[in-house]
Every structure is written in structure tokens, then in C-alpha cells.
Subunit: 153 residues, 2 copies
């Protein structure tokens, strides 16, 4: 069993993780969260990451995100509007996509009960696009801010 702590303690590791999610602005896998939070909490271990992700998810601070083709669970901050995700097939980062195609209900076959849906876009993120120099490996949230306007196929 798991004994429930009488009080939740505020540790530097946990706040470092939260900062990592805030600055990333996209769903993170445990390993990604570790990489991003470690600079803020030296010595941070993967076990602590898993523990805190679970704790924060239980508190409603984080929300688990499952994506096709990748078994590892990701987490993102709760409280965001309905959105979906873009999965870069090159660097395997996942970005948030505002909006929703709608028209979901008509797809549901007779006899099925719809409880939710997920839309995942696949392709290349700006940093991984072939037409651009890939000198900058995507490691932070910065790549979503590309202003290059390139008509895609």
C-alpha cells in the first residue's frame, strides 16, 4: 500500500518540474521533464520525476497525454482549452494545436457510445523542416514561435 502523507511538502524538485512544464508549453515525457528540470534542481533523479508526475496528476495539476506510436506517457499542465497535438516524426516532440476539426459525432457508428476523441497531426516541426537549417535542435519551447511563413503542401 501507499501511505498518504499527512502534509504535502514543497520541495525544490517539484517546483523545478512545474517550471519545466510551464516553460515548455507542450506535453513532456518523464525523460524530457527530467532533462528540462534538472538544470533547476541538480541531482534530480528519474524516480522523483515519476513520483511527482503521478502526484501532480493526482492533484489535477498535470494531465496525462497518450499519443499513437509512442508508448510513453506524456504530461501537460491542466486548465488549458480543448486542443490537440502535433507529433513531429523527426524529433518526436509533441506540440499543442489549438482548435478541433469538429464533426466528430457523425463519425460514431451506431451502437457505440462516444466518450472522447483525440486528433493527432503528424509531420515535421519548424525546427525539423528540410527547407530550413537544422542547426538548432529543438530543446525548448522556442521553436513554436517561428514566423517564417511557408506555404505547406
Amino acid at each position: 500500500m501507499e501511505r498518504k502523507p499527512a502534509t504535502e511538502r514543497k520541495t525544490s524538485q517539484r517546483s523545478a518540474l512545474l517550471k519545466a512544464f510551464e516553460s515548455a508549453g507542450r506535453p513532456l515525457r518523464p525523460q524530457e521533464a527530467l532533462a528540462l528540470a534538472r538544470p533547476l534542481a541538480s541531482g534530480l533523479g528519474i524516480a522523483t520525476v515519476y513520483r511527482n508526475l503521478r502526484t501532480l496528476a493526482g492533484q489535477g495539476v498535470l494531465k496525462p497525454v497518450h499519443l499513437p506510436g509512442d508508448s510513453t506517457v506524456r504530461y501537460e499542465l491542466c486548465g488549458k482549452a480543448h486542443h490537440h497535438h502535433f507529433h513531429c516524426l523527426r524529433c518526436h516532440q509533441v506540440f499543442e494545436v489549438d482548435g478541433c476539426p469538429g464533426n466528430i459525432e457523425p463519425l460514431v457508428p451506431k451502437g457505440f457510445v462516444l466518450e472522447g476523441h483525440e486528433v493527432v497531426l503528424y509531420g515535421q516541426c519548424p525546427a525539423c523542416r528540410p527547407t530550413r537549417r537544422k542547426s538548432e535542435m529543438p530543446s525548448t519551447k522556442s521553436e513554436t514561435k517561428s514566423k517564417k511563413k511557408k506555404p505547406k503542401s
Copy 2:
């Protein structure tokens, strides 16, 4: 590594697997394929299933299907029209859903290159609906076995 056979032999196991996919009409995991094909090929082993799924996928007969929240790869027959999937959260079977919500392109953020998309519906299949009215079952031979997943504390 792997040596490529000079000739592809037609085995009872392989045709049994294909029949399983044809009669199922939905994406199957290796274990599901094994369960459905075993009655057609006694003694069928899981290793053979994996080998043939890979071979058939390489031949373009089967196509891998990845779904959120489930790490195991599924396969379905190639040559079908564009469609998506309905994932029953109770029995964890996956069904095909004709059609597509469309309106995908407008979702793509600037700077991203879209290469594909996946829409997954979640909910309950007819066999798992709380109501006892099971007059409309999925066309497949659904084994309504609810696999218990490890509960989280």
C-alpha cells in the same frame, strides 16, 4: 541480421493469420491475432505471429496501426479507404470508423508540415454498453473479455 529467403513459402500459419484479419475486420494486436488464428492453425506460436505480421507488413498486405494509450502495435489489412478508429475503453478492442472529420489543414500551425493525421474515438462498443440491449453487435466476433488492468493505487 536477417537473411532474406529466396522464396516465400505459403504456410498454413500465414494463411490462418490472414483469414483472422479478414474475418475480424478491425486492427488486431499480435496476441489477438494469435487468439483468432489459433483455431485455424493448431499449435500456432506467438513467435510465428510476430514474424508473419512483420513479413506481411513488409509485403504491403498488412499495415501497422498505432493508437494512443496502448503501446502494442496493431495491424490491419491494407487497401482500405481512409478511415479512423474507435477504441473501446472497456474491452480494448479497436473498430474501424468510416469517414473523417476533415478540416484538418486549418489546424496546422504555421511552420509545421503536415504529413498525416489520426483521429481516435473513445468510448464503449455495443457489446460493452451499460444497457443490456445488444441487438446491434459489431460485425466482428467480439470476445467480450474485459481485461483487467492493474489499478493505480
